[in-house]
């Protein structure tokens, strides 16, 4: 029993990491329909932001909190630049967007390699996040609890912003009916750019948080990217709650399979299950879309 509950927590923790990595995609891919393969590199940029900030602010606690804010801006800025220079002209060619952003990802990876070197760099976690909390016999590291809370806060914040802020309203309006929004005086360009800023910013935040548990190296974004896309696809486009449920379901599934077999098997099973699931429900868990995604 303890094992089951312990694994459940582990799964939730894995899920929250997936969620954090996928949340920005739920906006840019889920809401806008842009397949941004460089999202993983935005996450990586967040990781290195945390590293750079730590070189400046050596107090680990303060640097983590500052990094979260700076990471959001850095990720967001990269997203806006990408949107303004490339994606803007590719909105009618979603599949090509995928390949173009893959190229951007390659460039960013190499850039990181040239700036920071290929070996992983170390981001020191703050003291108050060291150690773990025992829950039903399983010790859950505080870093993971922090990530879980951060993911929850990001989801709640994002949902609230979409619901209550004027900007959020505009984002939803543009997603639901682009032409109508445009001819109602809403600038869909600005709105797209803002959506992209927030979505990419969330990738930056995810990157900062992920330095708490993983390595900071040029290829780190790659390891989250496919998972993140699958979460958004399985969750259904245009809905945050779909992504939330899909992330946690995938996390719990993966850690359960991993516990009984191997981590490799878990990964393979998770992928295959999602592919199978999408055969049954190609629209994902939930789907509300006005603009159909190619």
């Amino acid at each position: 029993m303890d094992v089951v509950i312990g694994q459940l927590f582990t799964g939730m923790s894995t899920g929250s990491i997936l969620l954090l990595a996928a949340l920005g995609l739920a906006l840019t891919f889920g809401q806008m329909g842009v397949i941004n393969m460089a999202h993983g590199e935005f996450i990586m940029a967040g990781c290195y932001t945390a590293y750079v900030v730590q070189q400046v602010v050596s107090a680990t606690g303060a640097s983590l909190l500052i990094s979260l804010a700076v990471g959001f801006v850095v990720g967001g800025a990269m997203g806006v630049i990408l949107e303004a220079t490339l994606l803007r002209r590719l909105y009618h060619r979603p599949l090509d967007t995928l390949l173009v952003t893959f190229g951007v990802g390659l460039i960013l990876q190499q850039l990181a390699r040239d700036i920071f070197g290929a070996p992983a760099v170390n981001v020191v976690a703050p003291g108050w996040l060291s150690g773990g909390v025992e829950i039903f016999g399983a010790v859950v590291p505080k870093t993971r609890i922090f990530i879980l809370l951060l993911a929850a806060a990001c989801v709640a914040g994002l949902a609230a912003a979409l619901k209550y802020l004027p900007a959020g309203r505009r984002i939803r309006a543009v997603v639901q009916n682009r032409d109508l929004a445009e001819s109602s005086g809403i600038s869909s360009r600005q709105t797209d750019r803002m959506t992209f800023f927030v979505g990419s910013g969330l990738a930056g935040v995810a990157g900062v948080a992920l330095t708490l548990i993983g390595s900071t190296s040029p290829t780190i974004g790659q390891s989250y990217l496919v998972d993140a896309f699958l979460v958004v696809v399985a969750g259904g486009l245009g809905q945050l709650r779909g992504a939330v449920i899909a992330a946690f379901a995938l996390g719990v599934l993966q850690s359960a399979v991993e516990y009984s077999t191997t981590a490799s098997m878990a990964k393979v099973v998770a992928f295959v299950v999602i592919v199978g699931f999408l055969q049954l429900r190609p629209q994902g868990l939930f789907s509300v879309r006005a603009r159909s995604l190619a």
Partner: protein, 375 residues
């Protein structure tokens, strides 16, 4: 715009026939006469490897350029073909050098003395070749029917096929009976011919060349047939095709299966030519890399993918040596510039010019515009 595109295809067909035949002749002379005389054994082997990529590219050109399906998981089919061939070669070597009943050397080293049961059929060359020709296509048919029947959209299809490529690579790494991360290598013979012999390696080059010409011919027939028009129509206006009474899923599955079969064959040829197949050759990265050559050459053209694939592979092999970091930038930039700004590839630059000269109508040509392409 679909109407325009289809009529362009029609228009191109009859006039282009002689030109295509001429192209074939030139290509055949280049491959069978010129290349072996001017290239060193090593360079010839390298070119043979590029030809394998070109075979994959021809299939991608059909499925992606003509059919609008972004096949991000060709590594799966390439890997299937390659591993099946590799298993056969390992078994044949074991039989030849270890005597009847021996297990392949890498298993021996790992302390395995019993051959896993499912390896056994691959001892037969006939079975292996049949499996290489049929299995990838069969997998593609099953996968394609499942996906396209459900009208899964293009982006989904791309992400799913990518996930499958990743899953297969991870799975293969964890299978020690398939060599794990090392993959399968150290092949000594190819259907009885010693691989170390330069003459036999040249023969492999010829086999690859012949295969490439054959797949190009097949795709040419498909492109200019009624089916080819239908495929382009499905790419541009899937709904309309449905209303006309055709099943778009079937149309797409055929192209997808053909592309899969080509990738499988290319994988099978890759093994004796390069001498190794490992999970590193079939994951997400190689799968996406297959696309860039196609995009550069011109995804909807017949020869564009071939030339693009060979060109990119050649450039990678020569430039990555001196400037590994610059090569990554260049590769990234190619994705960005070619696909972002020249979606019809380099072929379009010359094709547009040629058309302009001929018709003077502003040189509009078939545009494989991927707008909201539902796959």
């Amino acid at each position: 715009m679909s109407g325009d595109t289809t009529s362009d295809v029609r228009r191109a067909a009859p006039g282009g026939r002689w030109r295509t035949m001429g192209g074939f002749a030139v290509a055949a002379v280049l491959l069978f006469a010129v290349a072996p005389t001017v290239l060193s054994d090593f360079r010839l082997g390298l070119l043979a490897k590029f030809l394998c990529f070109a075979i994959v590219a021809v299939g991608i050109g059909l499925a992606w350029g003509r059919g609008g399906m972004l096949t991000l998981g060709q590594g799966v089919f390439f890997g299937l073909g390659a591993y099946m061939m590799a298993m056969h070669l390992k078994l044949a070597d074991a039989e030849l050098y270890g005597g009847p009943g021996s297990v392949p050397d890498f298993m021996e080293i790992a302390g395995v003395r019993e051959l896993p049961g499912w390896w056994a059929p691959f001892a037969s060359p006939v079975f292996t070749i049949a499996a290489i020709l049929l299995l990838p296509a069969a997998v593609a048919v099953v996968l394609g029917l499942a996906v396209f029947r459900r009208r899964v959209k293009g982006a989904y299809f791309a992400i799913l096929s990518q996930a499958l490529a990743a899953a297969l690579a991870i799975y293969l790494v964890s299978r020690q009976e398939l060599g794990g991360s090392n993959g399968l290598n150290r092949f000594r013979t190819f259907f009885g011919f010693t691989l170390n012999d330069p003459v036999n390696r040249t023969m492999l080059f010829f086999i690859a060349s012949g295969t490439l010409l054959a797949v190009v011919a097949i795709v040419r027939q498909l492109m200019y047939s009624r089916y080819g028009e239908l495929l382009v129509a499905v790419r541009d206006q899937e709904e309309r095709v449905r209303f006309l009474g055709y099943d778009p899923a079937t149309v797409k599955v055929v192209a997808y299966a053909v592309a899969a079969a080509f990738a499988g064959i290319a994988g099978a040829l890759f093994v004796p030519i390069v001498g190794i197949i490992s999970p590193a050759d079939i994951g997400i990265l190689p799968s996406i890399s297959f696309l860039i050559g196609v995009a550069i050459g011109g995804r909807a053209t017949l020869l564009g993918p071939v030339l693009g694939a060979i060109g990119v592979a050649w450039a990678e092999s020569s430039f990555s040596e001196q400037f590994p970091s610059a090569w990554t930038y260049a590769l990234g930039a190619m994705f960005v510039l070619i696909i972002g700004f020249l979606p019809r590839g380099l072929a379009s630059v010359t094709a547009v010019r040629a058309l302009r000269r001929r018709s003077g109508d502003g040189g509009r040509q078939s545009v494989p515009e991927q707008r909201e392409v539902a796959v």
